[in-house]
Symmetry: D3
Subunit: 247 residues, 6 copies
């Protein structure tokens, strides 16, 4: 089974962090390919960046080698529904996978993230997945950090404090460290937290495996059937070909 | 007052149709500028195309001359929240303006559109605006039409039939002909319908005027404040500059 | 275009305050007529008063000269749905217009008002419009004020403080000073607030203009069609005539 | 225990029908007083009439003799929240009592009524009580009937057919014949229906008794505390006195 | 009328407390029978215990003498829907009866209980009844108490403090002391609270009476019709007979 | 990894059907243990049976050998929340796993089942998981079938017809054959259906694996922490020991 872990951000070291986290959890026989956005921002943090990054996701998927499933590896799931519609294999978002996993471990999950700018976008994402009633709240670090790829080390103590506060004050039954740069943190700190912790990348890899196990066919009916062929102008060639059914 | 009517589709004749419809309703002193997508698809009809088109909207806004407000002139409102976050003036979506206007004319509105492919995207849009309970249903033509810009003429009778069915069978109190190519149809057929009809472009122009009348400042707090400057790579220069605060 | 700004309260100076606020925002050609409740309370603040005031609104509309649209100029919108059903022209509520305008400027709006007694009624109104999820909260002054028509001057500093708290603590993206006596305050204090502020009267006038631009016909089907003629006993003559279709 | 069964309509024979229905179900010691609206319409059927009728309810309550609880005996509950706020004893609505009773007998209730004009108002009422998810639908007779007070006899067969359709097609677990003129019908036809039937007046009398058994004090805090004294102008004297705390 | 007050807990003194509370409120002619769980836990406090206790409820009902209605006398209503489906007479839950009564006395009710362990189960119960929007919050004592049947005496002052906090801080319009051991407390402390207080057992008895007054037939259609006969293995004989239609 | 596939029904051949379906999808290293209810009904179909069966689930789990996770292998998830609270390893329900998987493959899923009696219970289950908005509807066979374990063969054509109707008429994007006896059907018929099909047992096994990959700790805080020790009377010894913390 070949999974594409697609980072819509341009940060290659975050891609590698996620790959390593996912590989450790993958079943025997699961091969994880990666792709890092060739253009865009170092990390998507706002609605505008998610709009742009989601379009880049579609370009990247159109250019990707054949796979059995893909993971949109940014919490917030930019481009998820468009990708699910346009491509033939299952596509899973990092936020979606983490939150659905958390639903099986408690009534309400708490999100902990590393930058305040992310919060409105994450809240929109929770709402879009219809999971607002399952979310106990979103807590974030304030202030600056030295490096995106090391933020989980630099701020480990504060992140654990926020997670404990999400349990004690917000009523979270289960925790998610949200945001690609926090991948792998769960395993390191779970002993310091009183409730289960979901790792977003582990969730995405395992749920992608779960979907592939269903051998789901591409819909030819319903709201996720592949759209009819359509001409376009000025789009990335592979994406244009996918839209035109000339791929 | 200068309003930018921004068509995220590449169909220039639809832009002109919307401009004419809007100009007839604009207040004295309202000047309507237009922009048509330089790349993309002739008309956005799916989630994937909306993802791409919404990113193009942001590019177009970044390249636009100074205006007092902008209208994203595709029903479905691609890129709306990102635009509202990134730019300093009010931005209104065609769907948003039509649906909020309809809320003041009845309890539930019925949507009538010209292509089945549009329905899932429109339903997502209704949901995203939190208006699902105000929507009596979405009805669409089946089958092909000769030309996008003439679809409202070619299919006028069928569209009126669908609208009447939305009232009689779905319980709509008010109607919206949804989709940019249907702009201006309301005025022509309203005598044949038993409930008020909202024209999406008229709604957008008047609600844009309404927002400009509030002289709203750009938020420096809350979830629509302008994001902090951020570097990017490979984006359209004007958009990159806007994101980097170097515009 | 003739708009009737109908104050369901008996406070004539508040009517004048609203008229002046609205006139400054009206389009060229919009004429604002006013009416002040001939009976009732100085300002409606409770559910019981709204029940009574809403019935008086219907009497006042039945006695009004011909207009193109009417504004029920009390935040809380007493009698709105009844008026929309019974009369042939568009009718807009102050709360409805302000809140729908705010929806286009942010995700969640904060209300700030001048008396605690108003809060339950306003909360019912928000709920009735289906906008509870868009509301960040309602904050109010505590304690007494010297004069209804001057409360916005007397308490300006405290009202601005509440508005800032609605942003900082409740997560409001946009603000509304709610309650007729606060009309016009937005323009004066917006520089002291970090998010857009909606003036309720400006919103109502502009949205009434927006509805008139749609030239909406009176429904003959659906839930807002004019009710069939019915006899009555002991009602105000003009209202009885409207209900009996003898007007 | 003295219960006031207050008919907001002017139809005295409907008042008597309800009184008789209620008396047969009342506990020993429960005395049912009645009042019929001195002005208004023969039967409230629309939002406008409910607005007017609800204000008349408040006048009637202000003029009523001392009671232990009151029933607003029109399905749709005109003036209910205002009455609950303004007066010291429990006030129950006919719709509220019937629907809450039905919630204890099934998952979803079906409403059957006698005139199409009533449906939008009833739907608003269901929504206002937060019970939309418990309602399987509202069905109504079409066309005219000879006499309001005899409609349940004249149309008995059709009403039973509608009720059976509500079970078979809408999935109702329990039925309510809605509208004051249908009081007492349940007892007569229940053998012809496959699910429990709630009589609205029986429900209201028994739930009023249930509230009196709690000996609930008048709130001095919260959203139903009695409003502070307020002057008014031109209202019915007893109502004005109640509002002014001079009663 | 014979009501079965069925305590799913094994605490006989709590059964007696509830019987006495209910008897004082019952109408003349209402006879209250009691049953106490022959196996199970002293008081159900968790979801697991409610699962077990609810199954014991069904056994107890199958073994009970003929009655006109039954009350599942544990706040949380273990086994309620199953009982309502399986048996021919009305079945009411303590939580359901208390919360529906409270809905007629205010907009939002506050729950006050005696042990933190109960809170998640109560919250699930509120959600299951579709009443989350009517609940202002659940407050509970912290720490241990000497005896279940005396907890309302031992902790009276703290329970009153919590109730006052529910009004002042959570916005409760009406209060419920939740949990069988708190039965009867309402009558003793209501003078110390500024809003109406609902006693759960009084509510259950009176609402059971209200349902019996409807003389509801057992559904033979809809989702609460008696299930078809089915064999079983190893269940309590009376329950097996009920399921097999051999009772 | 050891997974316990626990059948709350007494049908051993259905247990074997599920085991075989699950084993084919399990990752290398996943061992599937099974348990079949020693008492209860052949297949749980109603709320009452689910109440009883859920209590038996808890007994069975208390008596089970050590495992890494458990699956409650009845669509409807009897006892799920109680089990999640009481035991230390992850517990997944068949319905939960199938529905959450379906959420990643479309906007709305359609359920197809084999007996009308199951529908209300399934609808309650969908609601309890907060997924009503994601469900396009529940369709079921009417009438009798020869044998529970062969129903999927006997009725294959009709089940496929229902599934196609769920897509064409209800708008399902993805399908679930619901009910333990339909396990494995998806793989056989998916070529005859135009949208992805989720197999409930495959979903449960893969999601159980996904949860084990998170190595979730048992909560010591939040609403799913293990309840404090409590005495009980008359319960199955292993269950009593678990509740008493003497296991």
């Amino acid at each position: 089974m070949r999974l594409l872990l697609l980072n819509p951000n341009t940060s290659r070291d975050v891609t590698e962090l996620m790959r390593a986290t996912g590989a450790a959890a993958a079943a025997p026989g699961t091969e994880i390919l990666t792709a890092t956005a060739p253009r865009g921002v170092p990390y998507i943090a706002t609605r505008a960046e998610a709009q742009i990054g989601g379009a880049i996701v579609l370009e990247m998927l159109a250019e990707a080698p054949p796979v059995d499933a893909a993971i949109i590896a940014a919490f917030g799931d930019p481009g998820l529904l468009g990708a699910r519609e346009l491509f033939d294999y299952p596509v899973v978002g990092l936020a979606e996978a983490a939150m659905l996993s958390a639903c099986m471990l408690g009534r309400r999950f708490g999100l902990v993230t590393f930058a305040r700018a992310l919060v409105p976008w994450y809240e929109d994402c929770i709402e879009a997945h219809g999971l607002a009633q399952r979310c106990a709240g979103v807590r974030s670090l304030e202030g600056r950090f030295a490096s995106l790829s090391d933020v989980q080390d630099e701020k480990e103590a504060q992140l654990v404090d926020l997670a404990n506060a999400a349990v004690a004050e917000d009523g979270a039954d289960v925790l998610i460290f949200a945001g690609a740069p926090l991948s792998g943190l769960a395993a390191r700190v779970r002993e310091r937290l009183p409730v289960p912790v979901v790792d977003q990348v582990v969730a995405a890899v395992k749920l992608a495996e779960a979907l592939v196990a269903q051998a789901p066919r591409k819909a030819t009916a319903g709201s996720f059937r592949r759209p009819d062929p359509k001409p376009s102008h000025g789009l990335a060639p592979a994406l244009a070909a996918r839209i035109a059914h000339t791929d």
